[in-house]
Amino acid sequence: MKNVYVAGVGMTNFGKSERLGRELALEAAISAIEDAGIEPKDIDATYVSSAFGIGENQVHVGPLINSALGIPDRPSLTIESACSGSSAAFHEAYVALSSGFYNIALVVGYEKLTMNSTPENTRLFAMASDFWYEGLNGVTFPGLYALMATAHMNKYGTSEEMLGSIAIKNHRNGFYNPKAHFRKIIDMDTYLKSPVVAYPLKLYDSCPFSDGAAAIILINEDAKIKKSELVKVLASVRSGSMAALQDRNDYTGIPGAKIASEKAYKYSKTSPEMISFAEVHDCFTIAEVMAMEDIGFFKKGDGGKASLEGITQFDGKKPVNPSGGLKAKGHPVSATGIAQIVEIYDQMLFRVDKNRQVSNPEIGLTHNVGATGGSVTINIFRRLK
């Protein structure tokens, strides 16, 4: 297998945008191309992801991006994987580059959601569940994660304050991220008093519906480019879990995340102890707890406690979501996986605000979940000196 590297990244602001999804995707793509110091014509293949394009009367976006970049003859693949679409796109690009079939790929994820009301988005998102057995009953995505939260709190004593500490940390980090959806520091009182969305989860446990796009240029060792600031991909692994929550034995973790991370550690010859920092899928605070446990950062049941103790702060022993996470940076669903990689890259190049810069960003991990874990991607990256 050929070595694969991230050579450049780009990202729009996350939040509410007046622009079309395809325009956001293009903006992110152009920034990534400029950051990598290449021309669009250097790209061998484009991987695009969006989940709710149908809401904008626009699917099959790959060719639109390539046409707009002046490379209509290049192959494009448009991928959907619920909240983990661009991680799936990244993985496909990684596989193609490591095989040597392509040398330079553009990977871009975007979503445009804020034109819909919350109940309408809630209805749309329920389509990513096992619809006839979950969504049809009136469950929502906050609701599905709340089912896991109730189980986790009941089994391990995970408390509201522990979940609150995650919301507070991620809002704090988001405050120092100029591209974040929410740039607002919150305290425990604000967290505790926020309205219930899906008991036991509240407003401040939840990520928002965001518009936004993120893109990267991924290359293999045969690519001829000038830029030397590269981040090496040590592993990219995807897995899954039973689609419907009711068909699992346990609701306090995501089986596919555990499987994918164990493989990723094996392929990259690393271990949870060796990871310097991680961007994890905190669509709800409980999801960050489960993520940290599934990827082996903490013993099962200890994720909430570790967060309350401050271990996962940007300057703590195990920084998690220095970008602000989905909670504060925002969650334009199919942009999220690539946005996590943008953060890994920017951290490794020491080009983020010093108030959230991890001190020793040698090995970084991304954890991105589609729906309740039907799809999971774990990627591990290394800084090159």
Binding site: T122, G138, T140, P142, A146, T150, V197, Y199, M242, Y251
Partner: protein
């Protein structure tokens, strides 16, 4: 072996059409053509029991457009008396603590599965 449509029709007749594995006796509701427990393809149609206990739950305040008039309601994962696990909606929630509560099938229709607290 049945399809989702047959499951929806069974609800209207007051039944929960699911599956049972002939190899390991595991029982489930969702359309899985191979046993989720042992992987066997030797499975049959069966009606699941209509009473059970709440294993985990949530109470929804923010709901999809089409459920606006019903909020707040609970969504629970219920372990039925035959050991199978299903997800259902429970309306008229007065108490926030629902873990372990006994529930029974109330009805099923185009709004999914509705159970009630005993």
């Amino acid at each position: 072996m049945h399809y989702v449509k047959d499951y929806l029709n069974s609800l209207k007749e007051g039944n929960l059409l699911g599956f049972e594995c002939n190899s390991c006796k595991h029982r489930w509701l969702t359309i899985q053509n191979f046993c989720p427990n042992c992987g066997s393809h030797d499975i049959k149609d069966t009606y699941l029991s209509k009473r059970g206990k709440i294993v985990t739950y949530t109470i929804l305040d923010v709901v999809p457009t089409n459920f606006k008039d019903k909020a707040p309601y609970a969504i629970a994962i219920i372990e039925l008396e035959d050991g199978s696990r299903i997800q259902a909606r429970i309306e008229n929630i007065k108490d926030k603590d629902l873990l372990g509560r006994d529930v029974t099938f109330e009805k099923g229709d185009e709004e999914g599965l509705l159970f009630k607290l005993e």
